[in-house]
């Protein structure tokens, strides 16, 4: 865990790579993009949370995940909690 670089840009790139793996359109990914716009569903978010925990040591509970609506929300959650 926590071996990955912890800058907003690096986290955004890591989150973006995961979203593409889940099937999101790479051209549609931006900080303001919502999960709905990216066609990211609840199982994808569970997997994203697992990836964040593995890579950054940040534990996101189910209630935390429910609060995230956009790519920027996820990046901010990682930066805030890993700091």
């Amino acid at each position: 865990m926590a071996s990955t670089t912890l800058t907003p840009e690096a986290v955004e790139a890591r989150v973006g790579a995961a979203l593409i793996e889940f099937g999101a359109d790479p051209g549609a990914i931006s900080p303001a993009a919502t999960w709905e716009e990216l066609d990211i569903d609840s199982l994808d978010l569970v997997e994203l949370a697992q990836m964040i925990e593995d890579d950054y040591g940040v534990e996101l509970r189910e209630s935390d995940i429910e609060q995230l609506e956009t790519v920027a929300d996820a990046v901010a959650a990682v930066i805030e909690r890993a700091g």
Partner: protein, 250 residues
């Protein structure tokens, strides 16, 4: 995405709970014969489990015994960490561990009820939950629950056991629907009367006449079905229950 090796088998290992005897032991041997390194979990029969592992090694396979109580919520992390260190992720999980604490419902104590639910159902759920993360990342996984025809057909004196076994089927269906698109299947095998230590002690005596096959099944016959569900060949079988009962419930 984790791709298959030359023999079609994915990286990682298999894990069988309650693997020291009966269906669990036969399943461990079957999966080892398919090429899986197998973690054999047992609660208090380490010597027997050790003999299962030795037999697997004698046949050219790999097996490791882990002593653990499935009812303990801390158990899954400990078991999975040990296997992940040794062989990589658990790609096949067989939830076979089960206990009985029979008694007619009017006199069944809370302790008897909850001990069976705790091991047979809650324990299986926690093991499954722990297995799913790595399986999702690998885009491949097999979970097989060992249920029972008692989960579908009355067996007086086993309200707790029947509820747990029916619960395993329901859990498998739901989890299968949740994670199916990640290449993970979750199924249940429901054995009927199987020749085990229980039947040797007279349990099920007289039932053979009611079985179209006219005999109890063998642990190997159940393990063969589990082996199929754990294989690549069963990739489109998901969220279902396969009955292995010689036609008893047909």
């Amino acid at each position: 995405m984790v791709s298959a090796g030359a023999d079609g088998r994915r990286p990682g290992c298999a894990l069988v709970t309650g693997g020291s005897r009966g269906i669990g032991a036969a399943t461990a041997a079957t999966l080892a014969a398919e090429g899986w390194p197998v973690g054999i979990v047992c609660r208090d029969s380490a010597a027997e489990a050790g003999r299962v592992a030795e037999a697997i090694a004698g046949d050219g396979g790999e097996a490791n015994v882990i002593v653990a109580d499935i009812a303990d919520p801390a158990t899954p992390d400990r078991i999975f960490a040990e296997l992940e260190d040794r062989w990589g992720s658990v790609a096949v999980l067989v939830n076979n561990a089960g206990i009985t604490a029979d008694g007619l419902a009017p006199r069944m104590t809370d302790e008897r009820w909850s001990s069976v639910l705790s091991t047979n159902l809650s324990g299986a759920f926690r093991m499954t939950r722990r297995a799913l993360g790595p399986m999702m990342r690998a885009r491949w996984g097999r979970v097989v629950n060992v249920g029972s025809i008692v989960g579908r057909r009355a067996n007086p004196g086993q309200a707790n056991y029947a509820a747990a076994k029916a619960g395993l089927e329901a859990m498998a269906r739901t989890v299968a629907a949740e994670v199916g698109r990640r290449g993970i299947t979750v199924n249940t095998v429901a054995p009927g009367l199987i020749a085990t230590r229980l039947t040797e002690n007279g349990v099920g005596a007289g039932l053979a006449e009611a079985i179209p096959a006219r005999r109890p099944g063998t642990p190997q016959e159940v393990a063969a079905c589990i082996g199929f569900l754990a294989s690549e060949r069963a990739s489109y079988v998901n969220g279902t229950t396969i009955t292995v009962d010689g036609g008893l419930t047909a």
